[in-house]
């Protein structure tokens, strides 16, 4: 290239400080953007690092999923049966959903479709504040308020049981479900409602026949995310469930949950011991189940989003 041509090409080269700054920022925000993937991968890697060592040595799937004998501290014959913990988590989450699904869907429909103006804004703020209450405060409420309430009302010896933890967890999961469900209702185009109203439908008919069917996927996703939330909650089940290894016969039995077991025992184990690694194995189980729930909710949600786009003119 002759010198003249070189000089000419430099004239057209606008790569000044601004260009390099722009490049640098592009790289920086890309790293920031992908950090979420890095972190979720890191979480799995670090839990697996401790937990898989156990899975491939001491782990016995039949015992883990079939036995209720969680005796990790026994010196002679330590057993790691997680069945009671799984059943405990499932029973608390199940009851929590029985409590919170009807109420949160009702609240979502009321706030999203019936309430107007100031009432609606107030309710939304209240629901948001509800969602902000820390789990340890809910646990405290279960431990000190619900406990004595249950003992008094049902005349049972212990108030720390499935019923207590389930109700508290239900109250706790409800605001999240309400918010997501309300978003799903809001995503239904107003044109649908107007069309139905033009045919003379009352507002309830519009909701029942048009809005809810159209928002069905979003509502299912809301319920799923609520389940995931309840399943992974730690402090409430630790404080309000009674924390005793037990296959419950009724809601008045104390149980113990997966999350609570980790929280209660991790501090007392030696790093790298079988017990320590067994707790990380419980962590792998929790991680995989919540991952599956979130993935399912996301797929269902994306389904509606895509349908919505297709429907748009």
């Amino acid at each position: 290239m002759n010198p003249q041509a070189l000089a000419r090409s430099r004239d057209f080269d606008h790569r000044g400080r601004a260009w390099y700054a722009d490049r640098a920022v592009t790289v920086f925000v890309f790293i920031g953007g992908t950090s979420a993937i890095l972190f979720i991968g890191g979480i799995f890697a670090f839990i697996a690092r401790e937990g898989l060592g156990f899975v491939f040595t001491e782990f016995d799937a039949g015992e883990f999923f079939g036995s209720i004998a969680w005796r990790p501290t026994s010196a002679l014959d330590a057993t790691y049966g997680a069945l009671a913990l799984i059943v405990g988590t499932a029973s608390i989450t199940g009851l929590a959903m029985v409590v919170s699904i009807p109420f949160s869907l009702a609240a979502a429909v009321f706030i999203g479709e019936f309430a107007r103006g100031r009432v609606r804004e107030t309710l939304k703020v209240l629901v948001e504040l509800l969602a902000a209450i820390p789990s340890v405060v809910w646990g405290f409420i279960g431990f000190s308020i619900m406990n004595s309430l249950i003992i008094d009302i049902f005349d049972v010896p212990i108030g720390l049981n499935v019923l207590n933890a389930g109700i508290i967890l239900g109250l706790m999961a409800a605001p999240i479900m309400t918010t997501i469900a309300e978003d799903a209702l809001k995503a239904v185009p107003d044109g649908y409602r107007e069309a139905a109203e033009a045919l003379g439908a009352t507002r309830w008919q519009v909701i029942r026949k048009v809005v809810i069917p159209a928002a069905k996927n979003g509502l299912v996703a809301a319920v799923l995310l609520g389940v995931g939330r309840g399943f992974g909650e730690t402090m409430v089940v630790l404080m309000a469930s009674g924390h005793s290894i037990n296959l419950p016969d009724s809601v008045f039995d104390s149980v113990r949950a997966l999350t609570a077991t980790i929280a209660a025992e991790l501090g007392e184990t030696a790093v790298g011991s079988d017990h320590f690694r067994a707790l990380f194995t419980l962590g792998i189980l929790l991680f995989l189940v919540t991952f599956a729930i979130n993935l399912a909710a996301d797929i269902i949600m994306r389904g509606i989003r895509r349908k919505g786009e297709r429907g748009r003119p």
Binding site: G32, I40, I47, A107, F140, A263, T290
Partner: protein, 296 residues
């Protein structure tokens, strides 16, 4: 034209029945909404009634004494502030960068979908699993030990989605025309973001950060094994010290200190929840204020 013709839009008896059903449904749903909110209002009232008398200036400014059965909560309050501040320093730059990427740069491809899925999962993974991650990564692998640094980084990873989601929303609320006008003046992408997009989204970002403060200060499980101590009557001196924290302190005096006076945990719970709800209310008020004076 006599008055005998039925009015054109009068309801039939069938319409009247539909109206009645609608009224009933509305009342039922309203009642259920109230039932969802009412218990919490009652609980708050109870916390104030039971815990209110405990709270005094002395309670807030002295350390606990006599095996945590008396005294105040100063080290826990200060510790929570430490944890929150360090967590914010770690997560806000990363979170804002991620949001800028997702809102301003990311093409609609598999990577962006993977990032979004990762964000949803970061928010959805149980807090105790975050705790295990904190122990495995920060305490053991990076050898930070049980320290404010390890606990705050765990909290930062956990609350990252809060910053990302709220920042992304506020960035996307800035009209596209603003960006186009700036590009047409010859500005680079970054110049546009720095001079136009970020300033217009700043209040929304701040709202998200306040929300994160509220979330971070209430978390218990992630800090239990990574840096929060059951009882430590000193104030932390640096990020490698352990510390007490409000949330763990509430757990400890509720379940581990049986001879604590009954009102004491109510007092701690009241202070904790007031902190969290005050932050949340601030963020809501801020949002309403910003929405009110938006220029577009």
């Amino acid at each position: 034209m006599t008055g005998t013709a039925a009015p054109l839009f009068a309801g039939t008896s069938l319409n009247a029945r539909d109206r009645k059903i609608e009224w009933l449904v509305r009342a039922l749903l309203g009642l259920m909404t109230a039932l969802l909110i009412l218990p919490v209002v009652i609980i708050m009232a109870l916390l104030v009634v039971e815990g209110g008398p405990v709270i005094s200036w002395e309670f807030l400014t002295t350390p606990p004494v006599d095996g945590m059965t008396a005294g105040g909560i100063l080290p826990a309050l200060v510790g929570t502030v430490w944890l929150v501040v360090v967590a914010l320093i770690a997560s806000v730059p990363v979170g804002v960068a991620a949001a800028v990427y997702l809102s301003e740069y990311a093409p609609d491809n598999w990577l962006t979908r993977a990032i979004n899925l990762a964000i949803i999962n970061l928010a959805g993974v149980p807090s105790i699993v975050h705790a295990l991650f904190g122990v495995g990564a920060f305490v053991l692998f990076f050898r930070f030990g049980t320290s404010i640094l390890a606990a705050s980084l765990t909290l930062a990873v956990m609350t990252l989605p809060v910053v990302i989601v709220s920042t992304r929303e506020s960035l996307q609320a800035v009209p596209r025309a603003f960006r186009e006008a700036c590009w047409n003046m010859g500005a680079t992408r970054w110049q546009t973001i720095r001079r136009i997009v970020l300033p217009n989204a700043l209040s929304g970002i701040l709202t998200g950060i306040i929300l994160e403060v509220s979330r971070t200060s209430g978390e218990t499980a992630p800090i239990m094994f990574t840096g929060a101590a059951f009882f430590l009557p000193f104030l932390p001196q640096g990020v490698l010290d352990q510390t007490m924290a409000m949330s763990l302190h509430l757990f400890v005096i509720t379940t581990q200190v049986p001879d604590a006076p009954e009102a004491l945990p109510f007092g701690v719970a009241l202070v904790l929840i007031s902190m969290v709800l005050a932050m949340n209310a601030l963020s809501i008020a801020f949002r309403v204020y910003v929405r009110g004076r938006k220029k577009w």
